[in-house]
């Protein structure tokens, strides 16, 4: 349920992005260069791929294989961590080119990507909690609701990123 609400929030932000684009003579506004694609594309692949170990972790736990569960989950967390570090680096690098206060494009770009990053951090925290529980033994092959929810949320974070990546990074190049 909560995922539906959050998904709507991102949908509306992307609506706002495309709406302002349609109202602007130039996009990105103010002569800001479109974001570089290479780094973020690599990060994207990494993030989307992290769904695989997350799902495998859930499956392992249900089978009772605690070791694999911990291994896969840690893998997913590491991949997510790399994405996050890359995102922060991008923000820092972009800061001197344009900021949220530069123009509406800047406001939208930073708000959307950082809102996603926030969800990413929340998702990582969930996965982290669940990992700890796995280590402690409070989740196992019978009690795994928390794991299912955390992994589902993780997939949601990935799906949102697909939408954000296509809208903010790809469409400016191909429009």
């Amino acid at each position: 349920m909560a995922i539906l609400t959050e998904a709507t929030l991102f949908a509306l932000l992307l609506f706002s992005y495309f709406y302002l684009w349609s109202q602007s003579a130039q996009w990105p506004q103010g002569g800001v260069e479109s974001p570089a694609l290479l780094g973020v594309s690599l990060r994207t692949v990494l993030l989307l791929a992290s769904s695989i170990p997350a799902q495998l972790a859930e499956r392992s736990l249900k089978r009772g294989d605690r070791r694999s569960f911990v291994r896969y989950l840690s893998m997913a967390l590491v991949m997510a961590g790399i994405f996050l570090i890359g995102h922060i680096q991008d923000n820092v690098r972009d800061w001197h080119r344009f900021r949220p206060s530069t123009n509406a494009y800047g406001s939208l770009f930073y708000t959307i990507t950082n809102l996603h990053a926030l969800h990413l951090v929340v998702g990582m925290t969930f996965l982290g909690f669940v990992l700890v529980r796995g280590l402690r033994g409070t989740v196992d092959s019978r009690h795994h609701r928390a794991v299912e929810v955390a992994v589902l949320y993780w997939h949601f974070v990935d799906v949102v990123w697909i939408a954000v990546f296509s809208s903010l990074y790809l469409s400016v190049r191909f429009a």
């Binding site: 349920m1 909560a2 539906l4 609400t5 959050e6 709507t8 929030l9 509306l12 932000l13 609506f15 706002s16 709406y19 302002l20 109202q23 602007s24 506004q29 103010g30 949220p100 206060s101 530069t102 123009n103 509406a104 494009y105 800047g106 406001s107 939208l108 708000t111």
Partner: protein, 634 residues
């Protein structure tokens, strides 16, 4: 004041009572997660905001009673006008249905509580704190004054200095969390916690209406939350979403606001129709005609309402195709509403209704809402709307649909369920007096406003010149407002007097059809000792005279009544047909919802005052409460 003792059903329920009872005193008050206590709290708080909003309205009408009046200056008027709208929609009308829903839904579906009792408590505390937050603005002198929609760029920091609009934007965002969480809670409760046998097509119409409302909340609330957040980012963090000078667009604000705003008015209308269905069925002693059609109408209204928002923007220069589409959709939504009206009329024509107070308000609803719906159809027609939008014509329209379509049903519901909630009967006469004052007062206040709009009076003006032909209608409208106020004061008096009289109410004073009437008035803390067995839409009417409702107190060998560990047990069923029962353990009372809400309040204050220390403390409290949420025994 002592509560009347619920009737006991034997010694076996003594243990249930002990387990489900809240802690005594203040601790119990602060930690309760009981949907009935939370529902009552929502009611009292929302009703208080109704009276405050009404006071604000009285001041506005007093100022407008005469041309060139100087009772209120422009600044004070604009503040009161803004707070009146904000209070009525956000702090009274929407939470009031949380009150009704919270109290009644578990009872009507035969459950022991909502699906997430602690989340329920959280919703209430956030509501209370966000209301207090917004009203704290009066203490600082920086009261929101941009109108209840707070359009940019008027509400940008350039044109609205000071913190007034920050109180609004942050307050609305904060409150939105409460509403959204409540929506999730209702959906899961209705999907999973219905008593066995209560398949979807046996659910009471009120429960259907709450389900529809909750689904709408899920999709609509993010939009106003975003509008508020982006506005605040523009105001306090230098961004440019709505600033044309910085590449933004004021119309984007309007889109985000109305994508929520239009469904919102149906969020407060649909559950009202649910109440009316319950009241009319009981007063006529017939099931509502065309149950499936009525359900279809509820759901259709919910869906269609998301495709109407641009009709609030017809004067902004929309392209022809876009405007015609939204006009057609706005006309279309009249059809499901019409279906419900005729379903009620058909039901009422099957047997003479009893004219008890709930029925009077239901009739008042039909008359008033139909007028409002008719002017709604008129304003759906683009050129007419472009002529009279932002004038008193549209003010008249929305007060007709809101007071007629939402407030009168609320009052009908108050009079209908008061005996169940309090265990006391209401007075016989005050309710009728209140009804007539409100009905007549409402017409006298708002009908002349249609005319004022037609003769050119714009809305949101603190005064007007003599000699424009507006004087008489304004005077009449203000007199009507006085009568309306008297009506609401009478209702308030009735609530208090009835409580004081303490005339005991039986389980089922109206002879109504649904499950809440099978248990004592007021219900025991645990609602139902065992799960009720339901075989039709009108479980109470299936009983022979003198027969009591059958319940089942065991699931798969486990008792629902005895438990050594003092756990709160509830039953959960499958989504579609409510079969396959399992027992679940419900969370017990706790402080964490209160603390989490308080942490969020601190974060709101920190954003307002740009204070990092408070932000950190608030964040810590919030995170800690989150972390400890699931722990703690009673």
């Amino acid at each position: 004041m002592t509560a009347l003792e619920p009737r006991l059903h034997g010694a076996e329920t003594a243990e249930l009572e002990r387990v489900w009872r809240d802690r005594p005193g203040i601790a119990g008050w602060l930690t309760t997660v009981d949907h009935k206590r939370i529902g009552k709290r929502y009611f009292v708080t929302a009703f208080t905001f109704l009276l405050i909003g009404g006071l604000e309205a009285m001041l506005l009408r007093a100022q407008l009673a005469s041309p060139e009046n100087d009772l209120l200056g422009p600044d004070r008027y604009n503040q009161l006008m803004t707070m009146h709208g904000t209070t009525m929609i956000l702090l009274f009308n929407t939470p009031m249905f949380a009150a009704f829903g919270n109290y009644l839904v578990p009872l009507q579906i035969g459950a022991r509580d909502m699906a997430f009792p602690r989340l329920n408590a959280l919703s209430y505390w956030i509501f209370l704190f966000s209301g207090l937050f917004m009203y704290a603005s009066f203490l600082t002198g920086a009261v929101p004054n941009g109108g209840w929609f707070s359009y940019a760029p008027l509400t940008a920091s350039e044109f609205s200095q000071g913190h007034g609009l920050d109180f609004w934007a942050i307050g609305v965002t904060f409150l939105g969390i409460s509403t959204t969480v409540g929506g999730v809670n209702f959906i899961v409760t209705i999907l999973r916690m219905r008593t066995p046998g209560m398949s979807f097509n046996r659910m009471p119409l009120f429960v259907w209406s709450i389900l529809t409302m909750a689904m709408m909340i899920l999709f609509a609330l993010p939009s106003v939350t975003l509008a508020g957040v982006l506005l605040e980012l523009d105001r306090s963090f230098g961004m440019h979403f709505f600033d044309p000078g910085g590449g933004g667009d004021p119309l984007l604000y309007q889109h985000l606001f109305w994508i929520w705003g239009h469904p919102e008015v149906y969020i407060v209308f649909i559950p009202a129709t649910g109440i009316i269905s319950m009241v009319i069925a009981a007063m006529v002693r017939r099931p509502i005609v065309g149950y499936s059609l009525v359900v279809a109408a509820l759901v259709a209204t919910g869906f269609i309402s998301f495709g109407l928002w641009l009709h609030h923007m017809f004067a902004t220069g929309l392209p022809f195709l876009v405007a015609s589409f939204f006009s057609a959709a706005s006309l279309l939504v009249a059809i499901p509403s019409g279906m419900q009206i005729f379903a009620w009329l058909a039901t009422m024509n099957e047997a003479r209704p009893r004219f008890d107070t709930p029925m009077l308000f239901a009739i008042g609803f039909i008359v008033t809402f139909v007028i409002g719906g008719i002017t709604g159809v008129m304003v759906a027609v683009v050129p007419w709307d472009q002529a009279i939008t932002d004038s008193y014509f549209v003010v008249a329209h929305f007060h007709y649909v809101l007071i007629g379509g939402s407030v009168m049903p609320i009052l009908a519901g108050v009079y209908f369920w008061y005996p169940k909630v309090t265990g006391r009967m209401m007075t016989r006469h005050l309710g009728k007096v209140a009804f007539w004052l409100i009905f007549v007062g409402m017409q006298v206040t708002f009908f002349p406003q249609h005319i004022l709009g037609i003769v050119g009076m714009p809305r949101r003006i603190y005064t007007y010149h003599r000699g424009l032909g507006w004087d008489l209608m304004n005077r009449i409208s203000s007199i009507g407002a006085g009568v309306l106020a008297l009506g609401f004061l009478t209702v308030t008096a009735d609530l208090v007097v009835s409580w004081r009289r303490a005339q005991p109410a039986p389980n089922d004073p109206w002879g109504a059809e649904t499950l809440e009437w099978s248990i004592s008035s007021p219900p025991p803390d645990y609602n139902f000792a065992g799960y009720p067995l339901v075989g039709s839409r009108q479980p109470m009417w299936d009983l022979e005279p003198g027969e009591t409702l059958a319940t089942e107190t065991e699931v798969g060998g486990e008792s629902l009544v005895h438990d050594q560990g003092g756990h709160h047990h509830a039953w959960v069923t499958s989504v579609l047909d409510a079969e396959a029962v399992e027992i679940v353990t419900m969370p017990t009372p706790a402080y964490w919802p209160l603390f989490l809400a308080f942490g969020l309040l601190m974060l709101s204050v920190a954003t307002l005052s740009q204070n990092v220390v408070v932000a950190l403390l608030g964040g810590l409290l919030t995170a800690y409460s989150f972390y400890r949420w699931h722990g703690g025994a009673s």
